[in-house]
């Protein structure tokens, strides 16, 4: 019972349905670890004048050590980014074909339905329409995905410029590093602000999900969860008679505890970091 009370992915009735593969879950843990590391070591630099900046920097051993951690996390980031791109390419070429991944209900690509869902969502906010039902990925999840995709590309590129300035100066004038600093810092601030407020709210903190949703860690959620969060996808599976092939046993107690722990730690650290951002912005 306590499990159900705590975890949004364990809500209500029905057998567990598989939602994420082990590969996807692993990548998300890499995203969490590297992103928290990048933000924690980057924020003190971005807000060097903030009253907490020096303390946070010293926590990591000063700018030299923090810079090292930042670059190690950057390497993890490049790692998951290219692992994902390679896997998606492989799936497009060898497994599912490009069509299923680039368009349709299972695709991450934004489609007209997402616009309609967004409009219906706003109508629902004002009581003018029922809550929209989502496919495999809601428009919010698609935004999350592409924000990370775009973010890694742009922050990663600008970060490389700043990491190896004398090398890149062979190809570009020095003021590009000024721009890289602006882009790197502002895009990182956007990512930080978005992930630690909007993403946390959408995924963990809104009343339906509070306090945590472990689906990204265990890769599975109850039928009821799937019906409520991804109703159209579940309906499609049921119609096609494919629910059975997605049914999995519930996560082991150890896996569940591990997932909740990692989830809470990540949400906790993220919340602390966004408090630091707000503190710096308001001070």
């Amino acid at each position: 019972m306590s499990r159900r009370a705590m975890d949004a992915a364990g809500r209500g009735a029905g057998p567990y349905i598989r939602r994420f593969t082990g590969f996807q879950r692993t990548l998300h843990v890499m995203v969490i670890v590297s992103f928290l590391g990048l933000v924690a070591t980057g924020l003190p630099l971005r807000f060097a004048a903030a009253p907490w900046a020096r303390g946070v920097m010293d926590l990591f051993g000063g700018p030299v050590a923090a810079g090292l951690i930042h670059r190690m996390c950057a390497i993890i980031t490049f790692g998951y980014f290219f692992a994902h791109v390679i896997q998606i390419t492989y799936r497009m070429l060898r497994v599912e074909g490009p069509k299923k991944l680039l368009w349709g209900p299972d695709s991450m690509v934004p489609q007209p339905r997402d616009i309609r869902d967004l409009i219906q969502m706003f109508k629902w906010f004002f009581g003018k329409a029922p809550h929209p039902e989502f496919e495999r990925f809601s428009y919010m999840e698609k935004f999350d995905y592409w924000a990370v995709f775009w973010g890694v590309a742009i922050i990663g590129t600008s970060g490389l410029f700043l990491w190896f300035p004398t090398f890149f100066a062979h190809f570009m004038p020095g003021w590009v590093f000024n721009i890289a600093t602006i882009v790197h810092g502002d895009e990182a601030l956007l990512a930080t602000s978005f992930i630690f407020t909007i993403h946390f709210f959408n995924v963990h903190l809104r009343p339906e999900k509070f306090p945590i949703d472990t689906v990204i860690f265990t890769g599975r959620a109850t039928t009821e969860y799937m019906q409520e969060e991804h109703g159209l996808e579940y309906e499609r599976l049921r119609r096609d008679g494919r629910v059975e092939e997605r049914v999995v046993p519930s996560a082991s107690r150890a896996a569940y505890l591990w997932s909740v722990t990692v989830g809470f730690i990540a949400v906790g650290i993220g919340t602390m970091l966004i408090v630091l951002v707000l503190w710096a912005l308001l001070a």
Binding site: G10, P130, N178, D186, S193, I198, F201, E208, G231
Partner: protein
């Protein structure tokens, strides 16, 4: 007391050379003169003095032993060389006249007479005369480690008054007297003080090296060695090389004024960056970082834009990893970027940046070390990316914050209406849409 001292110094000023300064080195082992032997018969006899003296402290003031006299640089003098008018025999003819020291020490006397000490000695009576610092019968040479004016002892000597809260309270209460208030406590911890007290380095500057020994004047006096205008010359007595470079730099008196330099800032002198009494080693990392603020107190815009760069951010975080003002502009030879001899002159930048950025080329040095993205006309290359990124940040966050807040409000409305939680879609969902957290029994029955 006042009138006597004044009289003595008038005499010192107008009647020099009554007695020549004798060379004493050849007479170091001279046996005591007959006169000294005669005088010390009584004056070295404590009991005799105590029995016959009148008035307070007469006893100790009159007590002079031959040993004290023999230890003095004046050991070749007779008692009556200074104590003129004292006749032999007992009781003495009482005369207050002591031959002024300036009789022999003409220049010192003249300097002292013009000093703030002389003024206060005459006006108030609590500033030192000759004997206040040098003593009287046991005066030793400045090279004698036992002398109060031996370099290692000078700070202690001056502190006898300048660390005294009564003296500070009387003379140094003004807003401009901060340095005078802290001098006695701060100086021993300064690089000069540590060199003296810890290392016994007699050539290190002590009070009298900067303030002079006799012609001590307050800093607002134009003749003072510590007047702003005279500071470089004073420091340059020892730091000659640095001052020579500094005087030729943009901070020097003859460098043409630069456009865009904030009005109302006087050109800095040594103490503006190094302080007067709290000088520390220039290679101390914390001090190097602190100089940035000092540069910024005049170069306000450069200061602000510096902290927008990685260099400034790292410095602000208390690390010496990144460049500070003096790393690019030098510490003493700073010059306008239009000056071909400047380290930040365009043709010299590759060399300057290469000090840290090994392999920096002509492209690399096109970096704006003080770029300000909010200045559209001056930095259009930075302005537009900055505007774009800021716009993106603000619009994305604004949209989704509204999205989340509306969602939360709708959740509350739905919840109040029917306890159906907040999600609406599950029209056909068994068990309704209530989250497990709110109805744990439904979860329990399903498992």
């Amino acid at each position: 007391m006042r009138s006597v001292v004044g009289w003595i110094w008038l005499l010192g000023a107008f009647a020099p050379g009554l007695v020549g300064v004798r060379t004493v080195s050849a007479q170091a082992t001279r046996p005591a003169s007959t006169q000294v032997v005669e005088c010390t018969k009584c004056h070295a006899d404590h009991d005799l003095l105590a029995a016959n003296a009148t008035g307070p402290r007469r006893d100790s003031a009159l007590y002079v032993t031959g040993a004290v006299l023999d230890s003095s640089v004046h050991r070749s003098l007779q008692c009556t060389d200074c104590h003129r008018g004292f006749e032999a025999g007992f009781p003495h003819q009482v005369s207050q006249v002591v031959v002024p020291c300036s009789t022999c020490h003409e220049k010192e006397g003249r300097d002292w007479a013009a000093s703030i000490h002389a003024r206060n000695a005459e006006m108030v009576g609590d500033a030192p005369t000759c004997v206040g610092c040098h003593g009287s019968h046991g005066i030793r040479a400045a090279t004698d480690p036992r002398s109060p004016i031996y370099p290692l002892n000078v700070a202690g000597l001056c502190s006898r008054c300048h660390a005294d809260p009564r003296i500070i309270g009387r003379y140094f209460t003004g807003p401009g007297d901060q340095e005078a208030r802290i001098a006695a406590t701060a100086f021993p911890k300064s690089v000069h003080g540590i060199a003296l007290t810890r290392d016994g380095l007699v050539v290190s500057a002590t009070c009298s090296d900067c303030h002079r020994a006799h012609l001590i004047l307050p800093p607002d006096s134009a003749r003072s060695s510590v007047n702003r205008a005279n500071i470089p010359r004073t420091c340059g007595k020892c730091h000659a090389g640095v001052v020579k470079v500094f005087e030729a730099s943009a901070h020097g008196p003859d460098y043409p004024p630069q456009p865009g330099i904030a009005e109302g800032h006087p050109r800095p002198v040594c103490i503006d960056c190094h302080s007067a009494h709290e000088i520390v080693r220039a290679d101390r990392p914390a001090w190097q970082r602190s100089t940035v603020r000092k540069c910024g107190s005049c170069h306000e815009h450069l200061y602000e834009t510096y902290f927008e760069t990685y260099h400034g951010q790292v410095t602000q975080l208390g690390s010496n990893l990144a460049a500070k003002c003096s790393d690019c502009h030098t510490a003493h030879d700073m010059r306008s970027p239009t000056d071909p001899r400047s380290t930040v002159f365009a043709a010299n930048l590759v060399h300057t940046c290469s000090q840290c950025h090994e392999g920096a080329n002509t492209n690399f040095v096109k970096y704006y070390a003080h770029g300000d993205p909010t200045q559209r006309t001056r930095y259009p290359r930075l302005y537009w990316p900055w505007l774009l990124m800021t716009g993106l940040l603000v619009s994305v966050m604004a949209f989704f914050v509204i999205h989340s807040v509306l969602w939360l409000i709708r959740n509350g409305i739905e919840h109040r209406r029917g306890g159906h939680g907040s999600d609406g879609p599950g029209g056909g969902v068994p068990g309704g849409g209530a989250p497990a957290a709110e109805s744990p029994t439904s979860g329990g029955s399903a498992s």
